[in-house]
């Protein structure tokens, strides 16, 4: 105020930058900010908490069934005296690894197949559409269960297994979008100007799908978290000592009458994780103004 009074213009650079970014933040959809903040929290929790909390597999039979709020077990302990908080943190970490792996791999496969099908059409396209039908007809979880009867599940095989199913929505989305984009006058002009097929695909068509793929990927993340947890709950996902929220919930089931916290706490974390991923995905969709119907399964 006093600066104005003496007529000196002193733009408080840092504050205005802060104010600008704050107003920019306000312009974002609320769900994007809230979901993003929650997800960032989960990433930090999954990365850092296991370092602080120590080995989640450490058994301490004296602490078996320790209630939440116990001095050494803030969120209680399971029937083997394993710390619920440490196990939950480890479970979130494994979930994150699986989500990142599956989203990256399935998006990659899906985009490539969608590009080819949308651009080339013909038999590739017809085959793809039958695969889409097929994927809707066989519940993915049935395939996961059947496959886990044959192969042993590790984090890597779980990523491959889930990706083998999850690429289909990307392929379908990209295919539809490419079919629209390739008829645009800019693309036709590029073709007429002598651009190679490769250049048309990668410089003109692919960038046009990137927003959609990003939004779809963020919306799929929640499903991946659910599937990993569900399979581990059935005893068909990653095996101990690898930590998983689903496995812990299954452990809690054995002690349902005596130790509610072994079910309620990891399940609540799981639900919150899925919800923040969905919230973030919805926010991203609104931010980019993507039509929701385009993304329906």
């Amino acid at each position: 105020m006093s600066a104005h009074a003496v007529g000196v213009t002193t733009p408080p650079a840092s504050r205005s930058a802060l104010a600008r970014s704050a107003s920019r933040l306000r312009a974002l959809p609320g769900s994007l900010v809230a979901g993003g903040a929650l997800l960032a929290g989960f990433v930090l929790f999954g990365l850092l908490a296991p370092l602080v909390l120590g080995d989640p597999n450490k058994q301490d039979l004296n602490a078996a069934y320790a209630r939440p709020g116990s001095p050494h077990h803030l969120l209680g302990a399971d029937p083997l005296g394993r710390d619920v908080l440490a196990w939950v943190a480890g479970g979130v970490r494994v979930s994150l690894v699986v989500v990142v792996g599956v989203v990256a791999l399935s998006a990659l496969i899906g985009v490539v197949v969608g590009l080819v099908a949308g651009y080339a059409g013909g038999i590739v396209d017809a085959t793809l559409m039958r695969i889409v039908d097929l994927q809707l007809a066989i519940p993915p979880i049935l395939l996961f269960i059947a496959a886990s009867a044959v192969i042993s599940t590790t984090v890597l095989s779980l990523i491959l297994l889930i990706s083998a199913v999850m690429w289909v929505p990307y392929a379908r989305l990209v295919r539809t979008q490419i079919q629209i984009e390739r008829e645009r006058s800019s693309v036709i002009a590029a073709r007429l100007a002598g651009a190679t097929r490769r250049r048309v695909l990668f410089a003109h068509l692919l960038p046009a799908t990137s927003t959609l793929v990003l939004v779809l990927a963020s919306l799929q993340a929640g499903f991946v978290v659910l599937w990993e947890a569900g399979l581990s709950f059935l005893g068909l996902g990653v095996q101990p000592p690898t930590t998983s929220l689903g496995y812990l919930i299954a452990q809690g089931r054995e002690a349902l009458g005596v130790a509610w916290w072994i079910i309620v706490i990891p399940g609540a974390v799981l639900a919150l994780f899925v919800m923040s991923a969905n919230l973030f995905g919805d926010g991203l969709r609104d931010y980019f103004g993507v039509d929701a119907e385009l993304l329906e399964p």
């Binding site: 007809a137 066989i138 519940p139 269960i145 059947a146 044959v150 005893g235 079910i263 399940g267």
Partner: protein, 307 residues
């Protein structure tokens, strides 16, 4: 119309053949079926005997042809657990899963459709917002965890309902609730956007001009007109619903496909697993075909477009 049905049947058959192929590939390509069936503690002679007895020493193409021709006659072989025909084991479990899925859809619709109609009639009222936000919140909750919470509340704490098994209507309550709650928000959104679309059409304006109230229009005209896409959606969702059902069945030891599949996995009962994959896909194809026919019956526009 005849051509349309023929085309849909042909597409359905392709899906079924592909499901048969996938089930064969899972058992024969991903791993070695003999090891899966027998475990890993066999002497070489025993192993060779077993390989011969099951016909696994024949080339894979020949095995595939044999498998397809047997399966197309409904013969999946014997369950490796107790020598019952695998198809029969699966068909015995299928109705239990069907009851859960159907119960979940009906319950979800019974709540979601009135909420959607209310939402259209009283757009952005407080009740509308509370209901839709609340249902959206439950959407992300894993069904199997919800099921366990219900058990914790109604069985362990209140002793109102049996926590496991399939004995009568009361053992249906918790599994159906766990499956339908997360489904409601999706149905509300779908029915609502359908209704909004229909309400924007010219014939609605004509009805308004005729002097009908919004209420009459929604109940007598808009709901019926938004039914067709809704039936398609439900039929498409079946596959996903079965996924949740499998986990929830496991919580309640409900004797459906999910429990069967998981226990078959534990003892590596490959024939039952194969039969599950193929028969569930077949059930899905048949249901979708029926849904398409139902829509063609409800909605004359589909009949015209399909010609």
């Amino acid at each position: 119309m005849g051509g349309y049905i023929g085309r849909r049947i042909a597409q359905g058959l392709i899906v079924i053949v592909a499901a048969i192929t996938i089930s064969f590939a899972l058992a024969n390509v991903l791993g070695n079926p003999v090891d899966v069936v027998a475990g890993y503690n066999l002497s070489p002679q025993q192993r060779a005997q077993l390989v011969h007895a099951y016909g696994y020493d024949k080339p894979i193409a020949e095995r595939y042809v044999t498998y397809v021709s047997k399966v197309s006659h409904g013969d999946f072989g014997q369950s490796l657990r107790n020598d019952d025909p695998a198809a029969q084991v699966v068909l015995h479990a299928l109705p239990y899963t069907a009851v859960l899925v159907l119960g979940a859809i009906l319950t979800a619709c019974a709540v979601a459709i009135p909420v959607a109609i209310h939402s259209v009639l009283r757009r952005e009222s407080r009740l509308d917002r509370v209901l839709r936000r609340g249902l959206a919140l439950v959407q992300g909750v894993p069904e199997f965890w919800l099921a366990l919470l219900l058990v914790l509340l109604f069985s362990v704490t209140l002793h109102w309902l049996p926590s496991i098994g399939a004995s009568g209507v009361q053992s249906l309550i918790m599994p159906v609730l766990a499956l339908s709650l997360p489904l409601m928000s999706t149905i509300v959104r779908l029915v609502r956007s359908q209704l909004v679309d229909v309400l924007g059409m010219d014939f609605i304006t004509a009805l308004r001009a005729k002097g009908l109230t919004m209420r009459e229009i929604v109940f007598h005209h808009a709901v019926r007109n938004s039914l067709a896409p809704f039936v398609t959606f439900l039929a498409l969702q079946l596959g996903w619903l079965v996924g949740g059902t499998i986990l929830v069945e496991n919580v309640f030891s409900w004797p459906g496909i999910g429990s069967l599949m998981v226990s078959a996995t534990q003892v590596r009962d490959l024939t039952v697993i194969e039969a599950c994959v193929v028969l569930v896909a077949t059930a899905y194809v048949v249901l979708n075909l029926l849904a398409d026919l139902a829509i063609a019956a409800i909605d004359p526009r589909v009949r015209v477009a399909a010609r």
